[in-house]
């Protein structure tokens, strides 16, 4: 099958001016500006099949949005080559633009003061969609996303979730073959996020559109994507099925101690690398939601003794580990869980702070 998206050794650098503090910094910026060159993407290569649903994940600043901007044709790569639907994206030929859509969760695309219906009507004309087809699509999309009764409300008066749904409708009214979604569920409540996710799943299934989704919500990735690309500091460190990230036989051993020792002590006592030991919050045992969230200040203040500790370990090593722990500490509770994608990704992000990336595929 011919790939619909090809990225070949894509690199992208940005140059930005650095401003020092105070008056001296302001004068310095005027008289002798200093620049910083940032390498957002480093030799990224991959291909994507038509009709596939792909997740693009990485910590903030990993290069996800930059990659989407390059693939959608907003900016060119500094080096390397991108091809989408057979086109060079940055040339943005009209036929290419007619077949793609980019939804940025943090950027409004519809006109703030007008009702969504007015915007959709203009988009119908822009994409030259025959009126009966347009009506049918609008009906389908508004039904699926449950926003029919908001069509005549000014965009600025809609809630974030309703607005996001309208943005999505506006982006795909022309039935694009390739859809780039940059954090479409950002800021949405659980129900709205679920509705949006379900809609994307159905749309991908029905229309066979190729979708690339970036999200910090691992629910989005796990439930929708058959393939995951992980970026770390601009490098592609994983490209494969989400299940491939979970090592066979790997488990999470949850232990609650009478008095939780420091992680370094636990690492020393068990011989397990500190990256494979995670201290959890008692409020949030499964660490659901945004895996990049910094622990809340309130959470940090809580007594560490109340927290459970998770060890990432192979199934056959569990007994040995328990023996070591019980000989040195008092355990009050324990359990074995399947390894979660979120925990694996979290570990990958944490590795970023300590070590250069390893390439998996």
């Amino acid at each position: 099958m011919t790939p619909v998206i090809q990225a070949k050794n894509i690199s992208r650098t940005f140059r930005s001016t650095q401003k020092g503090e105070g008056l001296k910094g302001a004068l310095g910026l005027l008289l002798n500006p200093q620049y910083r060159v940032h390498e957002a993407l480093k030799n990224v290569s991959f291909t994507l099949e038509p009709g596939s649903f792909n997740g693009l994940i990485g910590a903030n600043g990993a290069g996800k949005t930059t990659l989407l901007k390059i693939l959608s044709g907003l900016i060119p790569p500094t080096t390397g080559e991108a091809r989408v639907l057979g086109y060079e994206p940055f040339k943005r030929p009209i036929d290419f633009r007619r077949q793609i859509a980019l939804v940025m969760g943090q950027k409004a695309q519809l006109w703030w003061d007008l009702p969504a219906m007015d915007a959709f009507d203009l988009l119908r004309a822009i994409y030259n969609i025959p009126t009966p087809v347009y009506r049918e699509r609008l009906h389908t999309l508004t039904e699926l996303l449950d926003v029919k009764h908001h069509l005549n409300t000014q965009i600025r008066r809609l809630s974030l979730g309703e607005r996001m749904k309208m943005e999505l409708i506006g982006a795909i009214l022309h039935w694009p073959n390739v859809i780039f979604l940059d954090e479409p569920t950002i800021g949405l409540d659980v129900l709205a996020a679920h509705k949006l996710r379900e809609f994307l799943r159905v749309f991908n299934h029905r229309e066979r559109a190729t979708i690339i989704l970036t999200s910090h919500n691992m629910d989005d990735i796990e439930r929708l994507c058959s393939r995951v690309l992980i970026l770390r500091s601009g490098e592609l460190i994983y490209d494969g099925a989400p299940g491939g990230l979970l090592r066979e036989g790997e488990r999470r051993l949850r232990i609650r101690f009478l008095k939780t020792p420091p992680l370094e002590t636990l690492a020393q006592a068990t011989g397990i690398s500190p990256e494979l030991i995670i201290l959890e919050s008692p409020d949030e045992p499964d660490r659901g939601g945004n895996i990049e969230d910094e622990p809340a200040a309130e959470e940090q203040k809580k007594d560490p003794e109340e927290r459970a500790v998770y060890f990432t370990i192979r199934h056959e090593e569990i007994m040995g580990l328990l023996q070591k722990l019980m000989s040195q500490f008092t355990i009050v509770d324990m359990g074995i869980e399947e390894q979660s994608l979120e925990a694996v990704i979290q570990r990958l992000y944490e590795d970023e702070k300590t070590s250069p990336p390893e390439v998996h595929s």
């Binding site: 940005f14 949005t65 901007k69 959608s72 044709g73 907003l74 900016i75 060119p76 943005r92 009209i94 036929d95 633009r97 007619r98 793609i100 859509a101 980019l102 940025m104 969760g105 943090q106 950027k107 695309q109 006109w111 003061d113 007008l114 007015d118 915007a119 009507d121 203009l122 119908r124 004309a125 822009i126 994409y127 030259n128 000014q154 940059d182």
Partner: protein
């Protein structure tokens, strides 16, 4: 229609559908807040006219002058009335909108649509101006007949004013590309607008300029916005002079069309689509 025919039609720029829809959409957008819309019209036209009226009164009635630059009091008042009509048409703020889009990265929303960004923003922004031009034309024709002015001249003058509007936006679009480099072009666009206020004839008839400095406004396109249309409507330009200035307006449009293509091609290479 076959795909090839549609491509040719698109290539020739004959796709009127989205242009009409953009006009309608722009008009709806401009009139969402009716009071704001109406106060903008009155503010834009009547403030410069009031300044002129006070000035003529001071010069002729208080100062006792009988003529300036060959024009008497009633001629200058007629000029002032004519400028009210054409000042309404001379330009909107959609060049500021373009600059803001570049600065904030909102431009990205438009770049991926299958229409030209500059044309799209212009058409959406000009919708309300065209409506005002229509109203002004009817008003001008009605009042003009009362004063013995030719409706045909009024129509021609309004056409020239609309061309002036196009040129004004084109200049703004070129200047807005500075935002690709400096991230902001607000002051540059403001300076342009101030220059336009003086050199378009909106505040003063341009023949009041000293002889030695007449070349300044003659070598710029701004006089085509207000002064030129007023001259033709009031019968101070012959048909030949009007035709010559119409040709000049089209040449400026052609020139700025090229300038837009070059400056935006350069600008897009430096665009980083910030924010998100």
């Amino acid at each position: 229609m076959s795909g090839r025919a549609a491509n040719i039609r698109r290539g020739l720029g004959l796709g009127l559908g989205w242009r009409v829809a953009a006009l309608k959409n722009g008009f709806r957008d401009a009139t969402v807040y009716r009071i704001e819309f109406i106060s903008e019209i009155f503010g834009a036209a009547f403030v410069p006219a009031a300044i002129q009226a006070v000035l003529w009164y001071a010069i002729f009635k208080v100062g006792g002058a009988t003529e300036i630059a060959g024009m008497n009091y009633s001629e200058l008042v007629r000029y002032t009335l004519a400028t009210i009509l054409f000042t309404q048409i001379r330009g909107g703020d959609h060049d500021f909108e373009l600059m803001e889009m570049i600065r904030t990265g909102q431009l990205s929303n438009y770049l991926l649509r299958p229409v030209g960004v500059i044309e799209f923003v212009y058409i959406r922004g000009v919708a309300s101006r065209l409506l005002i031009a229509g109203i002004c034309l009817l008003l001008g024709m009605g009042v003009g007949i009362w004063f013995g002015l030719s409706p045909g001249r009024m129509l021609g003058a309004m056409f020239l004013a609309v061309l002036g509007n196009v040129i004004h936006y084109q200049i703004g679009s070129v200047l807005a590309t500075i935002a690709f480099l400096w991230e902001d072009a607000y002051s540059l666009l403001m300076v342009k607008n101030m220059a336009v206020s003086i050199l378009s004839g909106e505040l003063l008839p341009l023949n009041l300029f000293p002889e030695a400095t007449q070349w300044v406004w003659k070598s710029l396109p701004f006089y085509l916005y207000v002064f030129g249309p007023a001259q033709y409507a009031l019968g101070h330009w012959s048909h030949v002079e009007f035709a010559r200035n119409l040709a000049i307006a089209f040449l400026w449009i052609l020139f700025f069309w090229g300038a837009i293509r070059i400056s935006w091609k350069w600008g897009m290479k430096t665009y980083v689509s910030v924010g998100g």
